[in-house]
Amino acid sequence: MGDAISIATRPEGSGRGLRSRLRVAFLRSEALRGYTLLSPTLIVMAFAMCAPFAILVVMSFWTQHAFEFDTTLTLNNYREVIEAPFFRALMIRSLWISGTCAAVTVLVSYPMAYYVAFHVHRHKLIWIILMTLPFWTSYLLRVFSWKVILGYNGAINSGLKSLGLIEQSLEFLLYSPTAVVITLAHAWAAFAILPIYVSLEKIDRSLLEAAADLGDGPVARFLRVTLPLSLPGVLAASLLIFIPTVGDYITPTLVGGPDGIMIANIIQAHFGKVNDWPMGAAIAICMMISVALISVVYIWVTRKLTERIA
C-alpha cells in the first residue's frame, strides 16, 4: 500500500529515465532547439562548402598522372606556384585589376549612394531597387554586352566611325586589362553601392545640423562627419568587390584577350585542357590565401587610419 502511494506521488517523468530527461533538457535549452532548426541548413553547407574545401586543400598536395592521382602528400605544386614567375605575375595582375576595379567602383558609386541617402525623399524605394537591380540579372549577359560595345566592330567603334570621328577602330578598347577593369566596375557597381548606401542612410541627420550649427560649411561637414561615419560601408563595399573579382573567370575570358587573362583562367585550364587537378587546386588555394592576406592587411590599415582621423 505504501509503495503504491509512493509511486503515485512521484513527480512526473522522473520514473521514465533517460529519454524523458533528454526531452526536458531539449525543451529547456533554447540553444539546442535553435541549432536543431538550423541543422538542415548547416548540413547542406557543410557538405557543399566545407567538405569540398577540405578536399580541395588535400588535393593540392597530390600529383596527377594522366587520370590517376598519386596521393602521396607533396609540396611540389606549391613550390611551382611560388617559384614560377608566370604564376606570380598573373597573380599580381589579377590582384592589381581587382584592386583598381574596387577603388574605381567605390569612388564612382559613392556619390550615387550619397544622393539617394540624402537627397531623395519621395520614391526612395524605387531608386534603391533601380540602383541594385542590375546585379541580380545575368552576369554573363552583362559582361557580354560590354564585349559588344567595346569590340573592334562593336558599338563604340562603329558608332564613332559612322559619325566620321575616327577612321581606324580604337584597338585598346577590347582585349586589354582596361577593358576588364571597366567591365568589372560596371558589373559590380550595383552590388557595391548597397553597403555604402546603408551606412550613409544610418547617419543621424542632427549630427550634420550640429556640425553646421558649430560653423562647418558643406565641404567641412562632409569631410569631418559624413565621410568618417560612412567608412565602415566603404570598407565593406571595397572588400565585397575585391574578393570575388580576383577569381572572376567570365570577364577576362570575354573581354580580356591574352593581355587581360587573370588567375581564374589558369585555374580553369588546369581543370580542363591541362588536366592537372592538384596543380589547379594549389593555384586556387594560393589565390585564396593572397586575397585573405591582403584583405586582413587592408582592414587593419583602414582601422588604424580611422582611429587617427577620429
Binding site: E30, A31, R33, G34, Y35, L37, L38, T41, M45, A48, M49, P52, I55, L56, M59, S109, P111, Y115, V116, F118, H119, L125, I129, M131, P134, W136, T137, S138, Y139, L140, L141, R142, F144, S145, W146, V148, G154, A155, N157, S158, G159, K161, S162, H186, A189, R205, E209, A212, L240, I243, P244, G247, Y249, I250, F271, G280, A281, A284, M287, M288
Partner: protein
C-alpha cells in the same frame, strides 16, 4: 524646394550625377536588345533594317529549348530547396538565442564573397572523388549553395521585422509549434518567402560559372549561350535570347525586391 530642411536641400550637380550614373548602369545592357532587332549579323552601327527574324530563329532552335527547360528545372528546384533551408536558418537565427550566432551566420553567408570558380572547382573535386556523375543534380547542389545566403538574407530581414509576441499570443491561445507556424508565422512571412523564391530562381537561372564546372551532358541556358558565342552567325539569335532573358529577369527581380521591402512596412509594429 523651400520645404526641405537645410541639410537635405536640393543639390543639382549631384542629381545630374545620379541620373548619369543610372544611365551608365543600364545603357550597356540595353545594347543587347537594341541590336537584336538589327537586320545584320554584325553588331555595329549604323543600324540596318528593323527585323524580328532573329527572335523567330531563336524560338525555332531545338537545343535552345532543351537548355531552357534544364535551366527552369534547376532553377525551380534550387529556389525551393534554398528557400526551405533559408526559412529554417532565418527562423533559427532570429528567434533563438544560440551561442556562436555571428560565426554561424558569417559561415552561411560566405558563398557570397568566395569567387565562384573556387566553389565550383572544390565541389567538382568532392563530387568526382565520391564517384557521383556530373548532371543537373550536381548543378542544383552548387546553386543551392550560393542561393542559401540570398534566401537567408531576405528572410532574416523578414523575421526580424515581425514581433515575437504574435507567435507568443498564438501559443497562449492554444496553438502548438506547427499550428503557430502555419496560422501566424507563415502568412506574415509569406511575402518574404515568395521574394526569396523569385530571387533564388533568378540567380540560379542566370548563373554560369558553377554550372560550367558541375554540369554533365545537359547544358543550362547560360552554358548554351556561352557555347554559341564563338559562332558569329549565331550571334544575333543569341542576342535575341539574351534580350528575352534580361527582360524577364529584370521584371522578376524587380517584383521580388518590391515585395520584400513593401511587405516589411506592412507588418504591424514595424517602422521604416
Amino acid at each position: 524646394m523651400n520645404d526641405a530642411p537645410y541639410i537635405e536641400r536640393l543639390n543639382r550637380p549631384l542629381r545630374s550625377y545620379a541620373i548619369l550614373f543610372l544611365a551608365f548602369l543600364y545603357i550597356p545592357v540595353l545594347f543587347l536588345p537594341l541590336f537584336s532587332f538589327n537586320d545584320s549579323i554584325y553588331i555595329a552601327f549604323p543600324f540596318k533594317e528593323f527585323t524580328t527574324k532573329w527572335y523567330a530563329q531563336m524560338l525555332a532552335l531545338e537545343p535552345m529549348h532543351a537548355a531552357l527547360m534544364n535551366s527552369i528545372q534547376v532553377g525551380a528546384a534550387t529556389a525551393v530547396f534554398s528557400t526551405i533551408l533559408g526559412v529554417f536558418g532565418a527562423k533559427a537565427v532570429t528567434r533563438y538565442r544560440i551561442p556562436g550566432r555571428t560565426p554561424v551566420v558569417f559561415t552561411i553567408m560566405l558563398p557570397l564573397v568566395i569567387p565562384g570558380i573556387i566553389m565550383g572547382v572544390a565541389l567538382l573535386i568532392l563530387i568526382s572523388r565520391l564517384g557521383i556523375p556530373l548532371s543537373l543534380y550536381t548543378v542544383t547542389l552548387g546553386h543551392v549553395l550560393i542561393c542559401v545566403p540570398f534566401s537567408m538574407a531576405t528572410l532574416m530581414a523578414r523575421f526580424e521585422g515581425f514581433d515575437r509576441s504574435m507567435e507568443e499570443a498564438a501559443a497562449d491561445l492554444g496553438d502548438n509549434a506547427f499550428w503557430t507556424f502555419w496560422r501566424v508565422t507563415f502568412p506574415i512571412v509569406f511575402p518574404g518567402i515568395f521574394a526569396s523564391l523569385l530571387l533564388t530562381f533568378t540567380v540560379s537561372f542566370d548563373e554560369f560559372i558553377m554550372a560550367f564546372f558541375l554540369s554533365g551532358t545537359d547544358p543550362t541556358l547560360p552554358i548554351y549561350i556561352w557555347s554559341q558565342l564563338r559562332f558569329p552567325q549565331k550571334l544575333p539569335s543569341v542576342l535575341a535570347l539574351s534580350s528575352v532573358v534580361l527582360v524577364v529577369s529584370f521584371v522578376v527581380v524587380f517584383l521580388s525586391q518590391w515585395l520584400r521591402v513593401r511587405g516589411v512596412a506592412q507588418i504591424p509594429g514595424e517602422g521604416r
